[in-house]
């Protein structure tokens, strides 16, 4: 027994030494990249050996995580100035907030062949703070309307290029009653990035906003009431059962298996719906812009996943080099050669949309680009608003109160409370958050 314990202790010591040795053996130019798990990032990881070949002195280490885990993980790291990551994947929501705190290295002095002017301007604007760019967009998305061409033709309906919400409601009724499918599928799952992303564009389209110019919440306004009542009625009458638990993935599955007549969601779904391997309706998908209401302002969202280099990185030159490579024209060509043009990261560069191969392979290309180019995060509401962001409010508190409001509306959709009660609760929550945050004077 004595020997056993001694051996265990020895083994433990060995394990510790090994771990310490591993720590000190780290090369000077190893970049650790925190990335999101989505198809485009998986492809980047797969193709990254090409970068390592070009730059033999740089080695890449990948940490791939799910969105919420990633957000928590990189926020902890950057807020404590720990420097465990040299490249971080962040969204349009984080970039300006973190730049304001001085956590990010500005993306200046880029190589001339990078051709920054080729990067879509609205995407750059969404990642800038105080006129300076702080992250380079890896892929950009907006929202649009997907519909079933075959059913529309059969029922004698025509989807205009720019539909309105009144038309959408009419089509949903016909599709449900005569088409044998759910008229419309929309996000219902609570969350600031789930149902609230869509609902905020609907509120924008109806002329509403989250806060007025003196930071008073306006969720009790007629615009919100009109929007949320419309949304709840539409889904209850013509939507799938249990819509209050459907997020992007659930709706994608419903639409791809031919159960939805229409769906309004992220442009990134286009590539998935057009892929015959994943979708049973690949040859039947039509698309149009996101519907508008009293205004077209803010009716489609703008989101990008972008690569940023934190101030705490000790290898910022190498990190910047990698970020430029991953968002370059050259990288887009690499993906096209590997997976085909339909799968290239969308929305980042004008030059991608000038490629005849891309326009031919991806019939949705034109719509995606015009949706992205017309989305302006600094002017997204009919009446002026004190915040930036289209489908979100660009303040740190939004993550929390946005989700609470989302839960109330999801509850109304599930029938647990009335729309009025949900909006009243939402109004109180949002107002409290901005008072506590010191925005409201």
């Amino acid at each position: 027994m004595t020997r056993l314990t001694a051996r265990h202790a020895g083994r433990l010591a060995a394990a510790c030494t090994l771990a310490l040795a591993a720590l000190s053996a780290q090369a000077a130019t190893t970049l650790t990249i925190a990335a999101l798990n989505n198809p485009d990032m998986v492809e980047l990881k797969k193709l990254s050996p090409a970068f390592e070949k070009q730059n033999p002195d740089i080695k890449l280490n990948w940490v791939v995580l799910e969105e919420n885990v990633l957000r928590q993980r990189v926020t902890t790291d950057i807020a404590t100035n720990s420097g465990k990551f040299d490249v971080m994947m962040i969204g349009t929501y984080e970039a300006p907030l973190w730049a304001k705190k001085g956590w990010l290295n500005p993306m200046d002095n880029l190589a001339p062949e990078y051709d920054l002017n080729d990067v879509v301007k609205t995407a750059r604007d969404g990642l800038s703070y105080g006129g300076k760019l702080y992250a380079l967009p890896f892929y950009v998305e907006s929202s649009m309307t997907f519909y079933r061409k075959d059913l529309f033709a059969k029922l004698g309906l025509t989807m205009p290029e720019k539909p309105t919400y009144t038309q959408i409601a009419d089509y949903a009724k016909v599709l449900k009653e005569k088409g044998g499918v759910y008229g419309i599928c929309l996000r219902g799952k609570a969350g600031w990035g789930e149902n609230m992303a869509y609902l905020t564009t609907l509120v924008n389209a109806n002329g509403g906003r989250w806060f007025d110019e003196s930071w008073k919440a306006t969720i009790d306004s007629p615009e919100w009431k009109k929007s949320v009542t419309f949304y709840v009625d539409l889904l209850k009458k013509y939507g799938p059962p249990g819509a209050s638990t459907n997020g992007f993935n659930e709706n994608l599955t419903l639409f791809a298996s031919g159960k939805c007549g229409m769906w309004i969601d992220a442009t990134v779904a286009a590539g998935m719906l057009f892929n015959p391997k994943e979708s049973q309706v690949a040859d039947k998908v039509g698309f149009a812009q996101a519907p508008t209401g009293v205004t077209a302002k803010g009716s489609s969202w703008l989101w990008s996943w972008a690569l940023a280099v934190p101030k705490s990185s000790k290898q910022d030159d190498a990190a910047k080099k990698f970020v430029q490579w991953a968002t370059s024209k050259e990288y887009i060509k690499l993906v096209a050669n590997d997976l085909g043009w339909t799968s290239v990261p969308p929305g980042t560069r004008i030059s991608t949309y000038n490629q005849p191969e891309y326009v031919k392979a991806a019939p949705f290309a034109k719509f995606v680009l015009s949706a992205i180019q017309s989305a302006n995060p600094n002017d997204a509401t009919l009446k002026k608003a004190p915040y930036s962001g289209i489908q979100f409010v660009g303040i740190p508190e939004f993550q929390s109160f946005g989700t609470v409001v989302g839960q109330a509306i999801s509850g109304a959709l599930a029938g647990n409370m009335t729309v009025d009660a949900a909006l009243k609760a939402g109004q109180a929550t949002a107002n409290r958050a901005v008072i506590q945050g010191g925005y409201q004077k």
């Binding site: 394990a15 510790c16 090994l18 771990a19 998986v42 990881k45 280490n61 928590q72 465990k84 990134v268």
Partner: protein
């Protein structure tokens, strides 16, 4: 006659209840196993009948380096088990055989450290680990897990030691055994089933711990929990791949649990009062 009939009925009922409970508890794991062998679009259907495929496993193996994650998991949970027992055994020994009037309070205080949610101390621990260079190291994770699991380890070994008759240890002391000999030749062998189950529990707890492993590791020390966390996705279908990854992650510990089932049950029910 009537009595045996009712006994039989009781027997059948309890058996049925036990089986349905077991099935209920096992169901999520069963479903995960089935989903792992489906394609992504099949994963969203509730059907039990499908053509099994290894597609997701291929994808998982080509996308991430399973072996390095698994190696970290083994090193971490092995290290935690050994280190925790090394500290817990002497602590429990002194508390079980030489109690003072503070012993019960110390035990309770130790348990109270488990009452705070982990996220409450995330930032202080993160900063501390950063400053002493333990972030993203296997040793850093071993230390934090040991700290988390120590209360359980001490409590369990303490209760097992309490079952050992004091007189036997006294007798050995009269025969001239040193403390070291007393512990190694008498106490440890006598409470071996209990210690074995403590070790197993420590192993399982540290194998499955996800919060600290995700937050304190990045690339070098990441165990299997981080491997699983990379397969969930807000945009794109992921259930089949996530299930395949999870199955690969829990398989080693499930096999271990299966093999040591007897020890585990014996240890957990060790003694007359439990």
């Amino acid at each position: 006659m009537k009595r045996t009939a009712s006994r039989q009925l009781q027997y059948v009922l309890t058996t049925a209840l036990a089986w349905s409970l077991a099935l209920l508890i096992f169901f999520p794991i069963l479903w995960m196993m089935l989903t792992a062998f489906k394609t992504e679009s099949q994963a969203y259907q509730l059907s039990l009948f499908f053509m099994p495929t290894l597609e997701s496993f291929h994808e998982v193996f080509s996308r991430s380096d399973y072996v390095s994650f698994a190696a970290n998991s083994i090193a971490i949970s092995g290290g935690v088990t050994v280190l925790s027992l090394l500290i817990a055994i002497p602590a429990a020994y002194s508390m079980a055989f030489f109690p003072t009037n503070k012993t019960q309070k110390i035990l309770l205080w130790m348990m109270s450290t488990k009452m705070m949610p982990s996220v409450g101390v995330l930032l202080p621990v993160y900063l501390l680990w950063k400053n002493i260079g333990l972030l993203d190291t296997v040793s850093g994770l071993i230390i934090i897990y040991t700290l988390i699991n120590l209360p359980i380890a001490v409590w369990m070994t303490y209760t097992y030691f309490c079952e050992v008759p004091k007189e036997i240890l006294e007798a050995s002391r009269i025969d001239g055994a040193s403390t070291w000999q007393e512990v190694c030749y008498l106490l440890l062998p006598m409470s071996l089933p209990g210690l074995a189950s403590t070790a197993l529990l420590l192993l399982i707890l540290s194998w499955n711990e996800a919060f600290w492993s995700i937050n304190l590791s990045s690339a070098n020390a990441a165990p299997l929990t981080v491997f699983i966390a990379s397969y969930s996705s807000p945009e794109g279908l992921f259930w089949a791949k996530l299930s395949a990854a999870s199955l690969l992650a829990v398989a080693p510990i499930m096999v271990l649990g299966w093999l040591t089932q007897k020890q585990l049950v014996r240890g957990l029910t060790f003694g007359a009062v439990k």
